[in-house]
């Protein structure tokens, strides 16, 4: 920016100062003394030419970065459209990893079903026979921990819930991990189950199996003509037996 720009900056400053203490506590170096000086007409030192140039280029850079950030952020957050598809690479390069965000909070539709995750263990005895434990309802433990707690822990509210939804997202209906991420999430889910079972005292198992029962939440009473259905539909998914490494428990 030119000399005139920077002069204008300086005069602009005086203008603001001169209009008095109308702006509550400016950040600039203006103490009360300076303000009185300005009122009586004495001039404050101007920024030197090089400093003025520096400020001008800083303004240009900051404004550009701010605008770029907000435009790309908007395109990233907004529903997929032609622009965001075309510039997907640039958008992702700017956003990931630190500005990643998702505001689909209970939207477009809130979950209309809930998952209940249970786990059981198997142990192979030296004689070759296999002992299988009863199912342990891991979700029920979380639910119980949340009940009557005004500040539930992330371990009850988010850990298993998000591990399962991430597993579902990466695996779909298959239980084979086709990507690195899918394998990592499978390991995570297994570790959660193994740790929780081990914490209950069951420490000598070789394999873990998970069972996920999905129950849909019935419609609101007003929507149902007559009485509410006694049983809401549910389906059960059995995951394969997963071998446990010794350090897991």
């Amino acid at each position: 920016m030119s000399r005139s720009d920077h002069d204008a900056t300086a005069t602009g400053r005086e203008e603001r100062q001169a209009t008095g203490g109308l702006l509550t506590a400016p950040l600039t170096a203006s103490s009360a003394v300076h303000q009185i000086d300005d009122r009586t007409g004495s001039r404050r030192p101007l920024l030197s030419r090089s400093a003025g140039l520096l400020v001008a280029s800083a303004v240009a850079v900051c404004v550009m970065v701010t605008v770029t950030h907000l435009v790309l952020l908007f395109l990233y957050v907004a529903p997929t459209n032609t622009i965001s598809t075309q510039y997907e690479q640039q958008i992702n390069a700017w956003i990931y990893p630190y500005f990643e965000q998702n505001w689909r909070l209970f939207a477009p539709d809130p979950q209309s079903a809930q998952q209940q995750v249970s786990a059981r263990t198997a142990r192979t005895a030296p004689d070759g026979s296999t002992q299988v434990s009863d199912w342990v309802d891991l979700t029920a433990v979380d639910d119980a921990a949340i009940k009557h707690d005004p500040f539930p822990s992330h371990t009850s509210q988010n850990m298993l819930r998000r591990a399962w939804s991430a597993y579902l997202e990466s695996h779909g209906d298959s239980d084979t991990s086709h990507s690195e991420r899918a394998r990592m999430l499978q390991e995570y889910l297994l570790n959660i189950a193994a740790q929780r079972l081990a914490a209950r005292g069951d420490r000598t198992f070789d394999a873990v199996q998970l069972r996920v029962i999905t129950t849909s939440i019935g419609p609101a009473p007003a929507q149902v003509s007559g009485t509410r259905p006694a049983q809401t539909p549910s389906n059960t998914r059995y995951l394969p037996w997963w071998q446990v490494r010794s350090r897991d428990h």
């Binding site: 400053r13 990643e100 477009p108 992330h154 850990m159 995570y188």
Partner: protein, 376 residues
Amino acid sequence: MITDRTSHAEARHDGQPSIAPYPAQSRPDPVTRAFVFLTERAVSLHAAALLRIGYGLLYLTFLLREFPHRDEIWGPDSPWTPDLARELSHQNGWFSLLTLSDDRAYFEACYILALLTSTVFMLGWHTRVASVLFALVVTSFHGRAVFMTDGGDNLIVLMAIYLTFTACGRRWSLDALRRRLRESAPGRPGPESTDPRSGPSWQQAKMLRSQLTALVHNCGMFVIAAQVCILYGAAGLYKVQGGMWRDGTALHYVLNLDLFQPWPTLSHLADAHDLLIAIAGYVTVLVQVAFPFALFSRLKYVLLGLLIGMHAGIAVLLGLPVFSGAMIVADAVFLPDHALLRFACVGRRAIQRHLTARERRDLPRPRTVTEPPRTP
């Protein structure tokens, strides 16, 4: 926030042309005015301070809440093992202090660092350094356990990063207190003394620094405000697309999720009122969509009130205090400084009244400080 101050400043400027050093018709062009506005003074310093205190306190509370579960979430024994976290960091480029070592003592040291950093940041002591450390801590903890986070944690990360650019320690902080004490201390050389600090090059450096600080701060605050608008706008637009929000039953499903039901009786009580559920659902969507457009009018106070009420409801009914707290603190960015100062003034007066009342009770006989100390 920003709009309020501009209009205020300009209104006053127009109203007092006689004091201005030059006639009003030679007012600079809009580009110059924007330039001056950006570099001249840091806007919304009290709102920035409120964000700092809010997020510092929120993260401190969160860390203390999860203290018994710290190992399970972020520690070496977490089901999301350090190896998994490192692998993910390698894939997505997220840096975390916590994956640097698997040593338990190192982890505990990081936890203590996080507690201290949040406290120091909240109090505003050496705020710029503290804010960078806070952002480092928050991103480190977030990146270590990313599959255990929710929208609230996500917002805290974003705000911690943005706040490093702001001058959030200028008000309501230990830094501000220290500056005030230093300025009022007697015997200090004034700016006109022969101190080398009053030389022209020092003045230049000081001015340059204050202009750059103001510039970066203003951009940071603008980004924070825009981020909150994008958040609410997107949340609203996604909800409009959902059939359950349209037919007014969305909240029925939300209230029936076991993991978001700390008070089942309360949830069922609310769920029993279909009309209430439908109205609350519609108001939620309308407020979120309208929010970015209402900021330029006084309507914003109504919407802010509704949003704060909505989030307070979420905190209690759905058991999401961190999420709700993060949202409520974010809303503070839209409160103009004069409103915040008025709140603070009312609060301070109430505290003072309370303290004087207690002092009177505690000390029935007045004592004077000039009384000589009694020596045996």
